[in-house]
């Protein structure tokens, strides 16, 4: 343990927004996400000896959280037959701004992905982890993460291509009207 209590507290505090975002995508609801975050914070505090300073605190905490989630999840599954995918469909809070219809579609499509693919995609595509870190967090091989991410993208592309085929075509550059990225204009 290299971190003093006040430093540890500040460091954990700083990770909460990311943790919550990952928790929401794992658990599918804000309430369960926050319970998960709380559990993770307590475990991280209790086992801070296991953290090596200089390595990624975020990756370490994500690992704790993911393990916590899956052990709770297995327990819960034994208690209540949780309809998988139902939780996933409720995933994440309603969009803060209006006018993002296709973001809602996207969220739904994301919710329909198999959990392992969704998780890999989020770790790589949104949380900004490297494939190595994601593999460590998920306890699997780097190649497995890569293929999960690929399959997630393929699946989302198929769904998006179907659900928004009409919207695509010429409109694609308008998707993020606020910040039109020059990269889209070939």
């Amino acid at each position: 343990m290299n971190l003093s209590a006040p430093r540890l507290k500040d460091a954990l505090l700083a990770e909460i927004p990311s943790l919550r975002a990952f928790a929401i995508s794992l658990s599918g609801s804000i309430d369960r996400a926050d319970d998960l975050v709380q559990e993770t914070l307590m475990k991280a505090w209790a086992s801070s000896d296991g953290f090596t300073e200089g390595t990624s605190l975020r990756a370490w905490m994500f690992t704790i959280m993911r393990n916590t989630f899956y052990s709770l999840h297995r327990k819960r599954r034994r208690e209540v037959q949780d309809v998988d995918g139902e939780a996933a469909a409720r995933m994440v809070s309603p969009p803060a701004q209006h006018g993002h219809l296709d973001l809602a579609d996207f969220r739904e499509a994301l919710g329909r992905l198999p959990p392992d693919q969704r998780e890999a995609l989020i770790l790589i595509g949104a949380s900004g982890f490297s494939y190595e870190e994601a593999a460590e967090i998920c306890g699997c091989a780097i190649g497995t993460v890569k293929s999960r991410v690929n399959r997630a993208r393929q699946r989302l592309m198929q769904q998006m291509a179907v659900t928004s085929a009409d919207d695509f075509g010429p409109e694609i550059g308008v998707v993020s009207a606020g910040a039109a990225s020059p990269a889209d204009v070939a």
């Binding site: 926050d34 973001l103 994301l110 949104a126 399959r151 695509f168």
Partner: protein, 77 residues
């Protein structure tokens, strides 16, 4: 022999744009979640944990049921 082509099968021409689109939406969604304000319960949880670690900072906190050794008077009947 078996279908290992599943992952790298060439997809229709929409792919690069769709892929970029997916990437943007994913980040947009995630950024929304990350920018949610941190609930107070987490701050106070961490403060509790901290004060437990450094007992000098807090006096006796009655709320912590941590050690029962100090009060053997309460015997459940």
């Amino acid at each position: 022999m078996n279908a290992s082509r599943d992952d790298d099968r060439p997809t229709p021409t929409l792919e690069p744009k769709l892929q970029a689109h997916i990437g943007r939406q994913l980040r947009q969604l995630y950024d929304q979640m990350v920018s949610e304000p941190v609930p107070d319960r987490f701050k106070s949880l961490l403060e509790q944990l901290e004060s437990r670690e450094t007992p000098s900072a807090a006096e006796t906190d009655a709320s912590a049921p941590a050690d029962t050794t100090s009060e053997p008077s309460q015997v459940p009947r």
